[in-house]
Every structure is written in C-alpha cells, then in structure tokens.
Amino acid sequence: MSRPDGRLRPHGRLRAGRSRWGERLIGALLFGCGAVSILTTVGIVVVLLTQSLGFFTEVSPLEFLAGTRWSPDPAPRSFGILPLLNGTLLVAGGAALVALPAGLATAIYLSEYASRQTKRIVKPALEILAGIPTVVYGYFAVVFVTPILRAVFPGAGVFSAASAAVVVGIMILPMVSSLSGDALSAVPRSLREAAYGLGATRLEVSTRVVVPAGLPGIAASFILAISRAVAETMVVALAAGATPRMTLDVFESVQTMTAYVVQASLGDAPSGTIGYRALFAVGLVLFFITLALNLVSQRMAARFRESHT
C-alpha cells in the first residue's frame, strides 16, 4: 500500500516490507474477530444438534413431533412437543392479532395523516416502548394486565395465554409500526399524487395505493414481528403459565417452548439426562422456526428494496 516517493532511503524499503507483513497479521486478527460470529453460529447448531441427537436416541422423532402430551418429569414421561408448540402459537397468534393491525394502522397514520408535531411525540414514545426490557413487560402482564383480564372475563386464570399475548403484542407493536412505516415511506410520492389527482380520498390513497405498493415490506415486518413473538420468553414465562396443553382457550394456562426452557433450567437438570437434552431439542425447534421466519422476512425485504431503487 505504501507509495515510495522518489527520495526513499535504502532502509525505507525494508520498513515497507516489514509493515506489509504486519498488515497481513492485522488483517488476520481482524478476520479472527469476524470468525467469532461464525463460530457462534457453528456452536449453536452443533450444540443443539448433538444434544438433540442424544435426545432422539431415547425419544423417537415421530413421538417428539407428533405427540400431544409433554410431561418430562413425573412418570410416565412423554415428550410430545405439540402442546408447547400449541402454547407458542396461541400466544404468538394472539400477539399478532394485537400488534399487526395496530402497528400497521399506526404506521399508516404516521406516514399519511400525522402532522409533524404528532410524529415528534409518537415516534420517540414508540422507541421507548421498544427499548423496555422484556422482564419488565412480564411484570406488567402479571401485575396489571392479568387482574384486568380476570375482572372482565371471570373465566380467565391466574396464568393465561391471553394476558401474555396482549403484552407481547404491545411489545412487538413498535417493531411493526416502525418497519411498516419504513415500507410506506419508501412508496414514491408520485404514486400518491397520481391517486389524489384522480379524485381519491386519503383513505383510498392509503389503502388502495400506498399499502399495496408497500406490501412486501409490510409483510416482512409482520413476519419478523411474529418471529420475535415466538422467541419471546420472559413475558410468557411469567404470565402464560407452566401447563403444557392442547387448547385454543386463551384464558387457560399454557406453556410455550421458551417458557419450558426457562422452567426446566430453573430446576437445574443434571447434564446427560433426558430432561437436560429435551431442553436442546425444544431449543432446536425454536431455532429453526425463528430462522425460517427471519429468512423469509429478509428475502421479502430485499425484494421490496430492489423494486424501489
């Protein structure tokens, strides 16, 4: 890289050679830093797979994936993941029901309707909401939302999927509104003008032109938010309960995959036991579900960016 000027002294060349060697060392060191992230991925995959393989020598994959009873501790043991999956889907689905419409409507309001002053208040408020630790949301669910739910719906339990779903919904709302908002503001102004010019009202411009044009970006934000809801742990561990079961009743106590992992780790399962390995089998399923959702979301977002540049 060094550019010797005309008056270079003899030992200057030596120095140049030495520093090039040093450069290479530095490059290698920096690559090493990057490699840590690859090692992390490899570590995650290897750990989840090896421990799960141990698990699957004792429990058949079919039983694991199709079994409807999750009962790792009291005999007779049973490792059917469907009840945990049921709990996860119930909470994530409920959260999506809260966050997707509200998040999209917020994004539409901020991009098509709101005055500058409104944006100045609402956007930071949503950013604060996004920065609050999940355990705080868990506290909020237990101490505030659950009692209200139980007052309104007498059938609701002390732990319920509904309480967790509402709070997880509030938690992922800022993500939906900010990423959908990005998608809406990427829609060129000229399209809005074209629609207004034909006599469309603000509602028609928003819902028939801007939202359809931003749809891939909006869908990407939706999927990412659902992935976050599936991965969410503290709210469900505190508010949704620890009862793995097959149910669609949101007022019952359920257990999600993440909540099971927390509950089992609190018990400190000794390594090598089936209970310990079950943690990783559940973790593996969780990992693949969120990875798949994230990849789909990334693909959609990339396609959206391409179509708008």
């Binding site: 409507a105 917020t106 309001y109 901020l110 909401l129 630790p133 355990v135 509602l203 990412l224």
Partner: protein, 294 residues
C-alpha cells in the same frame, strides 16, 4: 388519429363523495385509536410501575441483599452483579465487534466467505436470546466447566450483543468519508495506519454510542441468564469473575414470581432502578454521538 369523444362523455358516475369522506374520517379515527393504544400502553406501563416502584426505593433497598423478608430485601448484589457483568461484556464485545466491523468494511475481499460472514451476522441478530442461553449452558457452563459464574453470564451476553455491536460499528465506519482514507494513503500511510489514525478516531463516537446501546440491551436481558443458571438468590457481593452471579433483571423476575404483594413492590422498585440505568445509558449514547459530531 380519431378521437371518439362522444363515448368518453356521459358515463354514469356515482362518486358518493360525502359517504367516502365520512368513511375516511372513520378510518382516520381508527388509526388514531391505534396510535393512542401504543402511546397509552407506554404511559400505563410506566405509571403502573412508577407508582408502586418509587415508594419501594430507599437507601436500604439499594444497600441490602435479597432476603426472605420483604422489608429487609434489597438489590445490592443484583446491581453489583449487573455492573460487573456489563463491564466484562463491554471488554469482550467491543474489541471483537469493532475488529469484525473493520475487517468487513476495510479488509474483506468481495467473495463468498465475506458474504457468508455478512448473512451470518444478520441471522445471528435474529436468534432468540434463549438459544444463546442454551449455547452458554452447554459450552461454557458444562463443556468448559466455567460453572455458573459472572464470566459465563458475561460471555453469553457478549455473544448475544456481538452482532448488534458489529452492525453499529460497520455503519459508523461506513459513514467515514472515503476522502479521509484517500488523504491518509496519499501521505504514504499503510492501510492499518490509515485506519488507526484516521478512520477509527472519526468513527469512534458512533461506535461508542452503538456499543452503549448494545450494552443497554444486554443489561435488560433475563432469559439467557436464567438458562445458564443465574442465581435468583445471592446474598453476597461478586468480587471476581468466577463468582456465582445474579443480575438486576433476574432479581426482578424472581420477585415477580412471588405471589405476595410486598415482593411485587420490590420488583417494581428494582424495575425503576433498571429503567433508570438503561435510560442513563441511552442518554449517554445520544450525548456522545451529538457531542463529537458536528
């Protein structure tokens, strides 16, 4: 060119302007309701925590260790643990993150390995935090036999926030104008000299602010710490990296699971402290970025 003007006139339109205007107003109020829902959620959350939590704060609360008796319980060990752990997280994730960012922005050739590295980092940022907990449990706690220590917790959280630090540092480095590098090279600097004396100093405020934001994320993490076995009840100060550990969020989790209202008030008090600390960190990040950038 013929123009069939007759047929472009006299079509039957029923624009129903008034009905559409009313539908528009209804829709606007629907959207406003959604906005209000988000903002009100924040307010209710904060108020419900502050009204219970602030009265729980006292010098004793900060100075005491957890206890079975709510009136004597405090968050001393949790605060010290969290602080120690964040210091270790900073010491690990900052050099690694900046190094990886420098590699990707300044050194990496455009090849498949680099692309793999980039997608890998993006995907790591989306891995559930609890999976990092499982990684820490199997590799650090069990395989490397580091046990349930401050170091294990810090290393796990470092891996968790590393992608965030790398992404923030890359953006900071990318924002350094190319002319600065060109000027350094033109003076005969090697690539590393240009980076060390010009690129890094110029990017540092943003790197620092991004790192602090990532640390504040780590400071609020609970799930991975529970998985690797954070102690939900520690009554002594952590002095070395191999000591058993807890953390402020873990303490909040523990108290929230207690059915008695007294413990829940303690949880609210601890949340006030946690949110206050995170707010300070975020404010520091913003200040650093604004102060050193014109």
């Amino acid at each position: 060119m013929s123009f069939p003007s007759g047929r472009l006139r006299g079509g039957r339109f029923e624009p129903r302007v008034e009905a559409r205007r009313r539908a528009g107003i209804r829709f606007m109020w629907l959207c406003r309701f959604a906005v209000a829902f988000g903002v009100a959620s924040l307010l209710v959350l904060l108020v419900s925590i502050l009204t219970v939590g602030i009265p729980a704060l006292s010098p004793d609360f900060l100075a005491n260790d957890p206890s079975r008796f709510p009136e004597r319980a405090g968050i001393r060990s949790a605060i010290l643990s969290s602080a120690g752990m964040l210091a270790l997280v900073a010491a690990m994730s900052f050099p690694l993150g900046v190094g990886a960012a420098l590699y990707l922005e300044e050194y990496a050739p455009r090849n498949r390995l680099t692309r793999l590295l980039q997608t890998n980092i993006a995907n790591l940022a989306g891995v559930p935090s609890i999976v990092y907990g499982l990684l820490g449990l199997a590799v650090l706690v069990r395989f490397l036999a580091l046990e349930r220590s401050l170091l294990t917790g810090a290393a796990t959280l470092s891996l968790l926030v590393l992608p965030l630090v790398i992404i923030a540092a890359r953006e900071a480095i990318r924002a350094v104008p190319g002319s600065l590098r060109a000027a350094a090279y033109a003076l005969g600097a090697t690539r590393w000299q240009a980076i060390r004396h010009h690129v890094l100093p110029a990017a540092m405020p943003r790197i620092l602010s991004g790192t602090i934001l990532s640390l504040s994320r780590a400071g609020g993490e609970t799930a991975p710490l529970l998985v690797i076995g954070a102690f939900t009840f520690t009554a002594f100060d952590p002095v070395s990296a191999t000591d058993p550990f807890t953390a402020l969020p873990v303490q909040i989790f523990n108290w929230t699971t207690e059915p008695q209202g007294e413990f829940r008030a303690l949880a609210a008090g601890a949340i006030v402290v946690l949110l206050g600390a995170l707010l300070l960190m975020n404010a520091a990040a913003v200040l650093i970025r604004n102060r050193y950038e014109r």
